[in-house]
């Protein structure tokens, strides 16, 4: 049997990848201006120096790549996934520098874990003594998660690239396959415009609520901005170690829910609603799928907790369950209970409901992670189609449609695509759980935190903590990356390495 010919990448291929990666890394350096300015504003001079070092490290690396590997050739489809992978690796390692200098981590791997968690909008963290952290460092955590939610490549597309062929593939490689307008750069700009409008309204709302809850104006403004960034990016980072339990307010919780639910919606859906087609939110297979699974899982978790009699009053029970469940389902990771309370108070039944919510996740082409409602909807429709075929006459042609921005006939190819990614996610969840069990954690706890990392959620029951086994930490870091990239870019990296070694 003839073997498929694998082409070894040329020197020009490597130059193109290095040049574009350099541009993205310069963009990451520019992002550090936000924490740098914050540190200067609050006279946190050591933190300002840390971010100065981080910023210049990114920029010198980025400019050197562009100077050494300079090319005028544009990127092609085959380069796009590799550029995404290389950019994420460089941005993660260089983004960890200011964290390592801050002294709040036990190892550089812990810093890398937190940066990957930020960019992938996961929200798990290993930073220690968060309650005494500098405002500049906190700002970086939220800038990372907000930029990661939009996509660091999408960010570069918007502000640094000028209409290059193949840019759409860059966007796809980062899990943003929706094209709202014919021009991909205009699409990226629309995504930013929608996000900035949400940021303005959300930050003001949260800051005003914070003020009414007794926060001082400066803290209310900072917390408003940061909690918005953590919510809309479905990230889950919070400014205090108590997460959103800090605020003790149903109004604050409701505002968070609105923001992170919005963040979990497909940007194409945002655009449709933006351009006056509000019915789209009710017709979309993703929102329908989300509504069904959320309702079922809330009922399941409530039943489990009611049996355990943790919250004797129904209103309290609903408030706690609804918040944690919708936070898990949108893969945000905000919580209003202590991490260990999942184990010590909620118990396995309610934890399983949370795990399933995390596995499913939010909408495609959003900031959310997980398998995604679109795929769950497609697989469900495919089952319905098969049942209809079974009960129909042989001569009947059974066709079924689903609505996602437009009506689409369900084809075997679409179903196969949905199944492939779903199986890949489930396999990854099984692997991270197994690694957790091998590391000595109980099954449910290992599964909870493992799935949380792989689905980019960020809820924890206490497994992810400083001092966790480094092998498990590495596996979870890779799982966060795989989950965010939906495997493609990471597998492309492996394929590239293979072609360098074995190609002709």
């Amino acid at each position: 049997m003839a073997r498929a010919l694998i082409l070894r990448p040329t020197a020009e291929d490597h130059r193109i990848i290095a040049t574009y990666t350099g541009r993205v890394v310069v963009g990451v350096g520019l992002l550090m201006l936000f924490p740098l300015a914050t540190a200067i504003a609050f006279a946190e001079w050591e933190t300002a120096v840390d971010f100065g070092i981080g910023m210049f490290a990114c920029m010198s690396f980025g400019f050197l790549l562009q100077a050494i590997f300079h090319t005028r050739n544009g990127l092609r489809r085959s380069h796009a996934f590799m550029i995404v992978s290389a950019s994420w690796i460089a941005a993660t390692l260089l983004g960890a520098i200011p964290l390592a200098l801050a002294g709040h981590y036990s190892s550089f791997l812990d810093c890398v874990f937190d940066v990957m968690s930020g960019y992938t909008t996961t929200g798990l963290y290993l930073l220690q003594d968060l309650d005494h952290v500098a405002n500049g460092l906190n700002m970086w955590r939220f800038v990372m998660t907000f930029a990661g939610g939009q996509g660091i490549i999408v960010m570069a597309l918007t502000f640094l690239f000028k209409g290059t062929p193949g840019t759409f593939q860059l966007s796809v490689g980062e899990g943003k396959e929706e094209r709202l307008l014919p021009n991909v750069i205009n699409t990226a700009r629309i995504i930013w415009m929608v996000s900035f409008v949400w940021m303005l309204v959300g930050t003001i709302a949260l800051a005003l609520i914070g003020l009414s809850l007794g926060q001082q104006p400066v803290r209310a403004a900072l917390h408003g901005l940061w909690v918005f960034m953590g919510s809309f990016s479905t990230g889950g980072f919070a400014p205090q170690s108590y997460n959103t339990f800090w605020y003790h307010s149903p109004v604050f919780e409701a505002a968070c829910i609105i923001i992170f639910f919005a963040g979990s919606l497909n940007f194409a859906l945002h655009w449709a609603v933006w351009t006056k087609d509000r019915r789209e939110i009710l017709r979309s297979i993703e929102t329908r799928s989300f509504a069904v699974t959320l309702t079922v899982l809330i009922a399941a978790a409530s039943f489990g907790l009611a049996k355990a009699n943790v919250y004797p009053e129904a209103v309290t029970l609903f408030r706690k369950v609804f918040y944690q469940l919708i936070s898990a389902h949108t893969t945000t990771g905000f919580g209003t209970i202590y991490s260990r309370s999942f184990v010590t108070q909620w118990g396995p039944a309610a934890m399983f409901a949370i795990i399933i919510a995390m596995v499913i996740g939010g909408s495609s082409a959003s900031t959310a992670g997980g398998i995604k409602g679109l795929r769950v909807g497609i697989i469900t429709k495919s089952f319905i189609q098969d049942i209809r075929r079974m009960v129909s006459p042989d001569s009947a042609v059974v066709k079924i449609k689903y609505h996602h921005i437009r009506d689409t006939i369900l084809t075997d190819e679409i179903v196969r695509g949905a199944f492939t990614i779903t199986v890949a996610f489930l396999t990854m969840h099984a692997i991270v759980t197994f690694v957790g069990v091998l590391s000595g954690y109980p099954l449910v706890e290992a599964m909870f935190d493992g799935v949380s990392a792989a689905s980019n959620t960020g809820l924890s029951c206490g497994v992810v903590a400083p001092g966790m086994p480094w092998g498990m930490e590495l596996v979870l870091t890779i799982a966060m990356w795989l989950g965010r990239m939906e495997f493609l870019s990471v597998f492309a990296l492996a394929g590239w390495a293979w072609s360098v070694v074995r190609g002709r």
Binding site: E44, W45, E46, V49, D50, G52, I53, F56, A57, M59, S60, F63, L64, Q66, A67, H70, R72, G103, H104, S106, Q128, D129, L130, D131, H132, A134, N135, L213, G214, Q215, R219, Q240, S241, Y242, F245, W246, Y247, H248, P250, V310, Y311, P312, E313, T316, L317, R319, K320, T336, I337, Y338, R340, S341, T344, Q345, A465, P466, G467, P469, W470, G471
Partner: protein
């Protein structure tokens, strides 16, 4: 992992010692014990000691405080403490007139007041949305807040200057390469 075992042992030991130092002053129950065995302590009057962090959120007659009894209550990382785990603490509800006794809150620039509160522990307080709380009836200032000194190490300034120069040089090289290519 084996190489890290002695380091972890030292960390755990120092955590236990510092925890004990904070706790022994008041025979307090630790926040970790309260979270791990919430049902056992539910409704029990306890004494809890630690650092007040963040801010007081005044809401009429009551005020929300957050009191951490972790190792950083003795020395924060910005003060030079080694990382020794996550923060841990409890949310406290106190009468507002008692909350006004607090002179400083823990953050980057401040090691907050160390206070001792006595009150009823609620595993899931029905009056406050099911939150885990200590409803305090007394608050005693044990040690006032202190400012945290920050100094920029010389080594970091050298790195900053070096990388700034490298950035300038690499930018010039990038521009020259580009203009050469265009010509």
């Amino acid at each position: 992992m084996r190489r890290r075992a002695p380091l972890l042992a030292v960390l755990v030991l120092s955590m236990m010692l510092t925890h004990a130092a904070v706790a022994s002053a008041s025979s307090a129950v630790s926040s970790i014990e309260l979270v791990e065995h919430a049902e056992k302590w539910d409704g029990v009057t306890i004494t809890f000691t630690g650092e007040v962090i963040g801010e007081a959120m005044e809401r009429g007659d009551i005020t929300w405080l957050h009191v951490n009894d972790d190792p950083y209550a003795l020395r924060t990382i910005p003060e030079g403490a080694e990382p020794s785990g996550f923060n841990s603490g409890q949310a406290i509800i106190v009468p507002t007139e008692l909350a006004r006794l607090v002179t400083g809150f823990g953050d980057y620039d401040t090691r907050g007041d160390i206070v001792e509160v006595t009150g009823v522990f609620h595993a899931a307080d029905p009056e406050h949305g099911g939150d885990m709380t200590i409803e305090a009836s007394s608050l005693k200032l044990i040690e006032p807040a202190r400012p945290v000194e920050h100094n920029v190490p010389l080594g970091k300034l050298v790195w900053l200057a070096g990388l700034a120069s490298l950035t300038a040089a690499s930018y010039v090289a990038h521009r020259l390469r580009r203009s050469h290519h265009l010509a």
